[in-house]
Symmetry: C2
Subunit: 590 residues, 2 copies
Amino acid sequence: MSRGRAVNACCVRWAVRGLASRRAWRIPKVAGAMAPLGEGSDDPVLPDLPRGPLHAARARASFPWKELALFWEGPDMLRFKKNIFSALENDPLFAHPPGSLSLEKYRELTFLRCKRVFEYDFLRVEDLLGSPLRVLALIQCLGMYDWSLATKFFLHTLTFGSAIYSSGSERHFKYLPKIFTMEIFGCFALTEVSHGSNTKAMRTTAHYDPTTEELIIHSPDFEAAKFWVGNLGKTATHAVVFAQLYTPGGQCHGLHPFVVQIRDPKTLLPMPGVMVGDIGRKLGQNGLDNGFAMFHKVRIPRQDLLNRSGDITPEGTYVTHVKDARQHFSESLGSLSSGRVAIAGMSVVNLKLAVSIALRFSATRRQFGPTDEEEVPVLEYPMQQWRLLPYLAAAYALDHFSKSLFLDLVELQQGLLGKDRSARQAELGREIHALASAGKPLASWTAQRGIQECREACGGHGYLAMNRLGDLRDDNDPNCTYEGDNSVLLQQTSNYLLGLLVRRDQGGARIESPLKTVDFLEAYPNLLGHRFEGSSPEDCLDSSVPLAAYEWLVCYLLRESYQKLNQEKQSGSNDFEARNNCQTSRLVKP
Amino acid sequence: MSRGRAVNACCVRWAVRGLASRRAWRIPKVAGAMAPLGEGSDDPVLPDLPRGPLHAARARASFPWKELALFWEGPDMLRFKKNIFSALENDPLFAHPPGSLSLEKYRELTFLRCKRVFEYDFLRVEDLLGSPLRVLALIQCLGMYDWSLATKFFLHTLTFGSAIYSSGSERHFKYLPKIFTMEIFGCFALTEVSHGSNTKAMRTTAHYDPTTEELIIHSPDFEAAKFWVGNLGKTATHAVVFAQLYTPGGQCHGLHPFVVQIRDPKTLLPMPGVMVGDIGRKLGQNGLDNGFAMFHKVRIPRQDLLNRSGDITPEGTYVTHVKDARQHFSESLGSLSSGRVAIAGMSVVNLKLAVSIALRFSATRRQFGPTDEEEVPVLEYPMQQWRLLPYLAAAYALDHFSKSLFLDLVELQQGLLGKDRSARQAELGREIHALASAGKPLASWTAQRGIQECREACGGHGYLAMNRLGDLRDDNDPNCTYEGDNSVLLQQTSNYLLGLLVRRDQGGARIESPLKTVDFLEAYPNLLGHRFEGSSPEDCLDSSVPLAAYEWLVCYLLRESYQKLNQEKQSGSNDFEARNNCQTSRLVKP
């Protein structure tokens, strides 16, 4: 069914164009990694594959797979991953139990496994900044094993931990060692029952009481209950809770993050005034305990306001270096960007797993043939190749894209921590935000469709739970929704791209960005005069040809959207209506 | 990602064209059904809806919903469905238990519910032919409740029961009353571990032994085990088993169906020589016990060969009215066509349920608005409408299509039972087979994508299991695979369409069919000269415009496929290669 949105389609095309551009294809540094490894090598990191039903297909490869693995990952990363996989493989706690687990048992087991991952100490705290790609690799290795575990670990260490680190100040650093020893267990409580995408409309309140120097956290009604919060259902002892901050006199200073104790770390019983529970079975990731919480006038010390962007004096005066509420809001939610980049990478892992399962099955499953006696592996059918190989290619392209974007994000975060307030830093922040807001939808939707295609391409056997394609689909699905619904996120990218045109049209600003992903738009609208001049299939094999096509398409969609937006405004629509009315068009999702 | 196949895309376009054509829109006979029912009416079949959060949206409807329901279903059908729903609603056995059930418990409960459905006797045996649409409605009502139950019931009564009725003869009718009292419980065992689509390659054998007048059913190895058979895992006492029939001297007469007892009906213990079990958890429909079975020289009476198309004399001579193995094969598998039509209808039910859930949620969920104070129901956003309303329209179109095709199938089956061997009957069989082979993919894929879009359009809350969108997706998924993988089925339709061209080109045969769905192809290739002449959006609102566009598109895809096929053959490919190489192209799935 043909559906879509010009603006959103435009964002996705732009992200795809980024994939095809040379910038994205920076070759990772793997000096010395290209030394050929013979098939007979007994390298423990890349041992020869056992002979089995796949041998015949593998023997026909036109390239040495070990060289590709080394080129793609580098020897250090391969060793790092091997170390994680070996530990999990040899630890009975990580054995997949026969049959299926009850919800309670699965959540309990996931918590125990999460604790064990800390004990393995795969990644020292000091590595977090030193080897940033290892952070991603650890999450992805855990996710290859089970996304419930990876998400549980990730939400505690990275989401909860870095919210405290990056939104708080020195007075909050006392929490950090407790996070890494799991003395406390954390979660990130932003979403409420009635508000997800519209974060500004969250209704949990934090009133300051100067007589006791305490903040009173309160949920006015059930619709304002925190909801969907990962780790909150059974296990979190602490939460970073977002609430509207009120100072004495009743002035609201907007959404701020607070550290709120949820449960007693010894007994896991809820703290007084906190009503907390599990939201029940989900479509997937059922080892993760998503939960809800309502606060009945829960008092916390003034110091537990995470005060990087705003603070309260003991007397109750609000102080901030931030100029206005809009900047305030965007600073306190800045940590959300990293979630989107991580999700792009997580989606790629799901796509890789599904494609591997489907290709291996297809290389051994035989069905029909030129004669009744001779059957052909289904992978030999052009139809099967047509169904699966584009997703194999997408897995490579998106894997590189997500790592590259992650490294850009690390650069941005280092600037933020170093209090870099330069124009370039601000522009880099906007560019990465726009890239992540289109890259997450691109990766998660590609994975969603790819897994479904893999499931169907494996026929009936693909429907058997043990083959994992169902779990992959179910566990990948929230990637399309959390940290921003894909369709809503794409609007953030479209606002960025349209904003570039507006700035140039109104102020003559040159269109350029720190990562140069938008520089080609400087040729807009002239670029629209370019015409496709290929005359044979061979002409299209040069990557510059699809790249030029994508550039043209981004410009075309941008022009259509920009004109539609301007028409809407001229015909009297306000900004809200105008944006809504130009979100749909004849163009389809990627 | 743009993928597809010219031939297959062609089949789907043809099926879509069928939707748009007037033929498909025969108005059901609902004389007297249009009498207006006021909102205040207390009709027990269509009671007024309770006032609730949806009232505001419903009050804005531009048509009376009761009139639409009456027009669409007719009063008798509405009453029939209401009767089923009320029975299930008031019976504690059908209460949805809180929490989730273990696999064993869910399968046991589904069996008990299946037995209860027989006790309710919603549909008398004599209604099976008298009110054919009620058969479909019963299955669909049960499926609205739970597809595991519907499938379990359906496999026993219709698949097993009608295989015996239509493939057997009077000597087998003794089984029929036992089916309707559930004294025996049946399944249909065709698929094997290593062969699904390629039915001809099934390897279970049936050797005739004239000394005892018995047939010996045998599985040569595990790859020949019957597999995926619904009801076989825990509960079936009898199976229709497909096996290669051998007469003394070693001659193979191809695949034939046999009634084989699997378990003792009193104890459910396996019969001697039968190794039978459950294949475990699936992606969905986990209340249904899919199973495997291997036969170790299991002896059955000669009479348990279902002998409509071929029989064995006591001495071991094979007798048949069928001319060759190909005709034999197609007669013994004829009952598969009805499965495809039923699946199209089942897919529509899933789409209806998902769209209803998503639209109701969207009418009450508010997010963002023109001001910070005022939030808008998300259904008011053009984006949300763009995502959901095409699927609402598809649900209506496909609902009508599947019912209409079902009635055509009933006509065909009545002819078969009446031993109609006319040319029209044969042509009707081919046409319905082609329609069902494209209609099932169209309906099941539309449902698959529609449910996914509904899930995503409900945001995070759509990921909560209690909202059923996950179960719908999981339960709908096998519709894309069983009774023929969608991609493979489409090739059967493409063979039919290409065959029409070949017959005309080679023998000058006119292109026409009993249901007239292909008659427009008589204008091929001239129809390709037609050009779109609309100049405004209004021009496209007349349904003849998209119909003409679909006709053009079918012709275009058919020409491309036909030319490619001929090129392949001219360049020396055999039939097998030629067909494979023209299955992929630049065109996308529907």
